[in-house]
């Protein structure tokens, strides 16, 4: 029989009675409880064996790249939250790093460490969700509940720092939005302790579990050569035995100053991916703990004399010409601006006036500060990197997350390209599924950890 064409698969042409075809075409998705986003897998089945699949994506396309061209450089930060919505902090920092490279600026050391801590927390959340969801799809709903419990501890940390759980918008070109809150290191240590307990429990529930192993071992395997040819990075590539990790190969932020291992496995099947992710979570916690211990700058405390004043009376004093000592007065900022007073901002954002908003004290208390603020905020002004282009890779939870930004010298990016880490595995998904059983589609698809927001942009 001649190979089926795409039109035949999609539109059912020629598959009517009498065409000789015995195979069954099954649509899995776009709306299906086990599809982690919206995606369509069109499978041709011979009995229970998958003969051919065609993967269709794009259902969650929201014109991310086009939207980025419409606003200023910092305006794209909230859009990047919605790329990989399970680990949005990494996207924030990746995009910010690309624009920083265009501008040729470096961020402060404390900011580098904060980025490491927050990225690693996000990575753990991502892996927890992935393993939890794929275990649930195999019937292990306890594991899912445990994992979500652990993720809750970590999301509380994220909430403490950013004020939000998912749409965090915490990164900024040149630094981060605000400093870490007081007592964060202690809270983080506690959350990691709880997470470790959960992981230990899950480890005992799953790793040696006969049912789980039977479903995972040897299923959905992809060789190292094929993974490389498909451009696959991250846990999937490491599960196939290639120890490529952007954090190790081309360290960014403070990754060259923390110790960690890059866990690898050999077989490249679903079970190996599970083991790699479990091992990576421990490494992530190790990195975050080191970064918290070594973080320069220490805790943030206001050490200027005098009680904090509220912004309105601060401005009043400036208007009345009582400017003596005004800039040294701390302002009582509203709670949603916590961690953004001058002392904190100096630590976490670059000192380049072309990029960083001045602290509120300076904006309210001096004309230079006000002008600086104005020049960054007003339409037509803002961050203006010199014309050129830059590509920056960071290690996302699913692999290499790259941002390629082209600047024409204006205040808006000319082009922003996101290299989504889960697109290559999705392109290779048909290789993992074909020849396997129809019941293995769901676990294999789960092990890929497809994130619709990032895949379809």
């Amino acid at each position: 029989m001649a190979p089926t064409t795409t039109r035949e698969i999609f539109l059912g042409e020629g598959s009517g009675p009498g065409s000789g075809g015995q195979n069954l075409h099954v649509n899995i998705g776009p709306q299906h409880p086990a599809m982690h986003g919206i995606i369509r897998i069109l499978a041709e089945l011979d009995g229970e064996t998958v003969v051919r699949t065609d993967v269709e994506i794009g259902y969650l396309h929201r014109a991310f790249e086009k939207e980025c061209e419409r606003g200023g450089y910092n305006n794209a930060i909230p859009y990047t939250d919605r790329l990989n919505y399970v680990s949005p902090l990494i996207n924030n920092f990746g995009y910010a790093a690309a624009v920083e490279k265009l501008l040729g600026i470096t961020v402060t050391e404390r900011c580098d460490y904060i980025r490491v801590v927050m990225s690693e927390i996000s990575r753990i959340c991502d892996h927890l969700t992935c393993i939890g969801a794929s275990a649930m799809e195999l019937g292990a709903i306890t594991v899912f509940l445990y994992m979500i419990k652990a993720r809750e501890f970590l999301w509380e940390l994220v909430e403490d720092v950013t004020g939000a759980r998912l749409t965090i918008s915490y990164g900024r070109v040149g630094g981060v939005r605000a400093d870490l809150p007081d007592g964060f290191a202690e809270k983080a240590r506690k959350a990691f302790k709880e997470t470790r307990e959960v992981l230990d429990e899950v480890n005992r529930l799953l790793t040696g579990n006969r049912i789980f192993m039977d479903r995972m071992i040897g299923v959905g395997a992809l060789s190292a050569e094929e993974s490389i040819a498909y451009g696959i990075t991250g846990p999937l590539l490491r599960a196939a035995g290639v120890g490529y990790d952007v954090r190790r190969a081309q360290p960014y932020s403070a990754y060259d100053r923390v110790e960690f291992e890059v866990p690898t496995q050999k077989s490249g099947d679903n079970y190996a991916r599970y083991l790699v992710r479990m091992a990576e979570m421990e490494q992530s916690m190790r990195m975050a703990e080191q970064a918290l211990a070594d973080m320069p700058g220490g805790a943030v405390n206001v050490d200027v004399e005098g009680r904090p004043v509220d912004p309105a009376s601060y401005v009043d004093r400036g208007k009345q010409g009582k400017t003596e000592g005004l800039l040294l007065l701390p302002i009582a900022l509203s709670p949603n601006l916590e961690g953004q007073n001058r002392k904190a901002l100096e630590r976490v954002i670059t000192h380049d006036k072309r990029v960083a908003l001045p602290p509120k004290e300076t904006t309210y208390g001096s004309i230079e500060g006000l002008m600086n603020h104005f020049m960054l905020i007003m339409e037509g002004s803002g961050i203006r990197p010199p014309a050129g282009e830059a590509y920056v890779p960071v290690e996302g939870a699913n692999g290499e997350l790259g941002f390629y930004v082209v600047s024409d010298g204006s205040d808006r990016p000319y082009r922003v390209r996101c290299r989504p880490p889960c697109l290559p595995p999705m392109a290779a998904l048909h290789r993992m599924l074909e020849g396997g059983m129809v019941a293995d589609i769901v676990p294999t698809f789960g092990s890929v950890n497809m994130i619709g927001g990032e895949l379809d942009r």
Partner: protein, 165 residues
């Protein structure tokens, strides 16, 4: 391998077909003539000193409204390559005119190029010669135009598509 050496090796091999080389902000870039693109990609992958086993990214940029480049070739197709063996990166570019927006396909070298080229076709309307199945990737069948082109009318609605047989 140092970026300058990579670029030097390309220049040595392809001579005047390497139109431009540059090392901007630590990224090493070579602009190639379209005629040698397929050969150059193959060379980058196979040459043991370069050994770019991975096609990390393939995208395009529309230079229609870029100050100073309005008259030049409209599109640039951009390849980001990475070598696991040597841990180095390279950006290759090829420029194409709007009325002749065709580039040889990289699918025979890297299967991932299949989807990436479909996305570039979808978003920019650049065709890839030798691609086995050049369909839209993200937009639906029946979508009109190519949204990442700079002259795509963002404020207009797409025509609604009816049921199809």
């Amino acid at each position: 391998m140092d970026g300058e050496l990579i670029l030097g090796r390309l220049r040595e091999r392809f001579g005047p077909a390497v139109l431009e080389t540059g090392s901007d902000r630590g990224d090493h870039t070579a602009v190639l003539e379209r005629g040698v693109l397929a050969e150059a990609l193959g060379f980058c992958k196979a040459d043991p000193a370069l050994a770019f086993e991975m096609l990390i990214d393939l995208t395009a940029v529309d230079y229609l409204r870029f100050p100073g480049r309005e008259d030049g070739p409209r599109f640039e197709v951009v390849y980001h390559l990475y070598s696991l063996r040597h841990n180095h990166r390279l950006r290759l570019k090829v420029r194409v005119e709007e009325d002749d927006a065709v580039v040889p396909s990289a699918v025979p070298l890297w299967p991932i190029a299949n989807w990436l080229e479909r996305e570039v076709w979808d978003m920019f309307g650049i065709r890839f010669e030798g691609h086995p199945d050049l369909r839209r990737l993200l937009m639906y069948e029946g979508f009109e135009g190519h949204p990442l082109r700079k002259d795509y009318p963002v404020d207009r609605r797409q025509p609604l598509i009816g049921p199809r047989n």
